[in-house]
């Protein structure tokens, strides 16, 4: 599903280049649950951003679901993102002034799904994640675990083939974290490819492969 060849990311500094990622070669097949681990500053989140097509300034080759991403224009990359990818962030990134229902509706609104169909999908999702009772609440009225649950629901609402999760349990206590990881496992079992960034060995154990990064290199 994903092939990275010699992917590099660097910043121009006054004295030369500062590399964030170096010669990344990585293959991830459909249905895998891959964990990216490494110390702070190793380049984990950057790698996730590149795979998620949020970051366009890198060099190398990147093939995604048969598409040559490195040859694509920004707008085409956004389209690819919309079609295949869902995001879960450490700090949830729900939109404060929208209700739970409205937050779930956002990804669908950017995918030209008709209103009636969107309504049905959001209601299904609320039901599936057992958050029907929270539909009209604002994020600030939810606990951290509940917010992350909504964030995961939002990530999968457009039925992505790939979920990218950046330290999804980083702000949660252990029981809430476990609940979220169980959810990821279930989604993976249903066929969704998952790439997570985490420091937690316990979370890594939910996946079937670990990629270790250090100073931008795969080790």
């Amino acid at each position: 599903m994903i092939t990275l060849r010699n992917v590099e990311k660097f910043y121009e500094a006054g004295y030369g280049r500062t590399y964030v990622l170096r010669r990344i070669n990585l293959e991830i097949r459909e249905g895998e649950f891959v964990t990216i681990m490494g110390p702070s500053g190793a380049g984990k989140s950057t790698l996730l951003s590149i795979v998620g097509m949020l970051d366009a300034s890198w060099t190398g080759e990147f093939e995604f679901a048969g598409h040559q991403v490195h040859r694509m224009k920004p707008k085409e990359r956004v389209e690819l993102n919309k079609k295949y990818i869902g995001f879960v962030f450490q700090s949830y990134h729900l939109i404060d002034n929208l209700t739970v229902y409205e937050n779930l509706d956002i990804p669908l609104s950017y995918r030209n799904v008709k209103s009636a169909e969107r309504q049905a999908i959001v209601c299904d999702s609320l039901d599936r994640f057992h958050i029907v009772g929270k539909r009209d609440l604002y994020p600030s009225q939810l606990s951290g675990g509940q917010q992350q649950l909504v964030a995961v629901a939002r990530a999968v609402i457009a039925s992505p083939k790939l979920i990218l999760a950046d330290e999804p349990t980083g702000n949660l206590h252990s029981s809430q974290g476990k609940e979220i990881m169980e959810l990821f496992k279930k989604l993976n079992d249903e066929g969704t490819t998952i790439i997570q960034v985490t420091h937690s060995e316990a979370n890594a154990a939910y996946g079937n492969r670990i990629v270790n990064l250090a100073d931008g290199w795969i080790v």
Binding site: V78, H93, I95, N97, I106, P107, Y110, P139, S140, Q147
Partner: protein, 808 residues
Amino acid sequence: MHALVGDLRRGVRLWWEARGLAALALVALALGIGAATAIFSVVNAVLLEPLPFRESGQLLAIFEKNAAQRKSDLYVAGINFDQWRRRSRTVAGMAAISDVHAVLTGGPNGHMDAEELKVERVSASLFPLLGVQPLLGRSFLAAEDGPVPATVAMIGFELWQRRFGGDPSIPGKAVRLRGESYTVVGVLPAGFSVLEPGVDVWIPLNLNANDPRQAAGCFLTVIARLRPGVSFARAVAEFDDMGSTLERAYPAINSGFRADIRPLPEQIIGKTRRPLLVLLAAVGLLLGMACANVANLLLARGATRQKEIAVRAALGATRLRIAAQLLTESVILALAGGALGVVVAVAAVNMVARFGPADIPRLAQIHADWRLLAFAVVLSLVTGILFGMAPAVQISGANLNRALLGSGRGGTAGRSGRALRSGLVVLEIALALVVLIGAGLLARSFNRLRAVPPGFEPSHLLTMRLPLGGGSNGTPARRIAFVHAALPRLAALPGVRAVGVSNGLPLTGLGVGMMFAVAGRPEPSPDQRPMALARSITPDYFRAMGIPLEAGRGFTDADSAEAPPVIVVDRTLARRFWPGSNPLGGRLALDSVPPKVAEIVGVVAGVKPETVQGEDWPTVYSPYDQASTSATNIAIRTDGDPLALASAVQGELRRLDPDQPVADVRSGEAIAATAIAGARFSTLLFGLFGAIAFVLAAVGIYGVVSYDVGERVRELGIRIALGAQPGDVLSMIVAGAARLAALGIALGLAGAVALTRLMDSLLYGVAARDFATYAAAAAGLAAVALVASYVPARRAMGLDPVRALRHE
């Protein structure tokens, strides 16, 4: 004290760092305060300050009116003034004024360069009635205002300074006026005028009511003072009663006529009140916009500093200490804005006093009003302080932690303050739209005015007034001789195509009128006798003015004083009295002095006598030789620039008679421009206000949207991460601004419908609810709103989602 100095230093530094924002706030404050103060100063000087007369509220101005002919503001007949003065029990005193011109040819030291002066012949009782004391010397004595003319004069302060060097011993000295020696008895205070500005000399009226010409002649304006305790309505009722009595006693003069009585202040400032109040309302709206703008900018800035303030609070600063610091910063900004506002106000007041149209009364008395200036500065201070303090108010103990945590757990900014800022922008847009619609209506009205044909051809036309009365050419025979001598010499000048003379030029005033009847038709009752403007012209006048002859002939040299009386009438008179038939050969019985019956030999197009927007008056043109008047204007049609010929023409006239002054040398285009100067001034001012409103609205929208984008960086990052294309981001932000603009425009339209009714009397050929103007102003403002929001929206489109998601 130490803390205050520190706060001041920090405040100045902080504003310097945020100088873009500070500059916007300062510009808004300076424009708002400056414009509001300038216009209020004008309103104060013109409308609010009492007239410089004792108990001016008790003074009345009395004219005559004819209800059947819908004519008002008519001069009072000598006999009526005399009778009113004898009979009235509601007024304590009464005086009459008659406007004349006189040529000054000599002073205490002998001959002076001739100059035509505006002179008022006045009753001796005028000055005591007004409660005005001369600066030097004395007023007229009752004995000097008897039937026998007394050659005494009072002079104005400006003439005293200009021609007599402010000589303090001028009372008792002789000056030469109207070819006679007059003794100056007093000098009036600077700026003194009653109804007519710019008068230089006052001489006794010397009305003789027993003289039939003076008794029947309508040439007076009457000033009266109500008796204490008598109401205005009672005076009106008494003058109505007297009118009925006088109508029976003097039917030839008074049939259909009554006193037209009104408070003197109303007469002087009445016509200016509405335009000035409209201007005042407009600048009030601008000041409101400026305050809303500053409030918005400060709120936005305050919101960005919540975290800093929370940190200070967490480190031990009391709320009082934080408030003191914020207060200092706000006061610095407000004071700087106020200071700039003072500069703008003083400049604007000087500009209005210098370039304002001459028809604004008491224009010379206008000065920057310091009380108002103080009010405007206090208003700016209150605005600055209130909204500058907002962050301190918002940071309460309850949400300190939240402020420290940034925007909370969710990741995007909250909505605190957004509603208030949006509300202020909506208000600004609404106010701007009202101002813009006002400006648009005036601009359209002005365009319509400009398009009205005045009835003559203003280009390549030179005009000047030749004051023949009271000088060496004062008698009818001398002035006819002078005109006959002058015209061929002027016509012979190179570049002159035609020269004519008339007693009244278009667009300079109604001038002389007279009653008439169509000879051979049933005689109308005296109160139904029509009135026409009476013009005395030389043969080439129509050609010189470019007034088209539509039928018959103009005058020739053969139409002399001895020839049978002939007249040319204008189209208005011809259509009214000969509808669908030929007036040529018809005859009018004219109430001229002496009365005569004259044959119509030609018909010319109508001209606008007084104002472009005014009605067309029936006009009768007589040959100059058959009806010469002392009021003489020369009209010269030229090949090239008319003003380039002015000195040659004046030189030729001087060679003919060195003592004959020439006045009001103007081009035809200048006459046409002066006729719409008031409308042009209002349009320019409103145009300026409209431009300021545009700028303030644009700054307001830009500020709010820009701040909103900054506040929503993380939200926008999330949206992009969830699949939003740049176009989605753009449309979301612009749509937000469009919603505010739509709401503001809706409110503004409602406000304009309510407020522009006040402008009805200022508009010509355009309704106060003109759809096209409303639509254009709304569309213009909507476009400004969209452009102002597009700039920050473009910035948002280029957001790097990775950075945005890390944004704190």
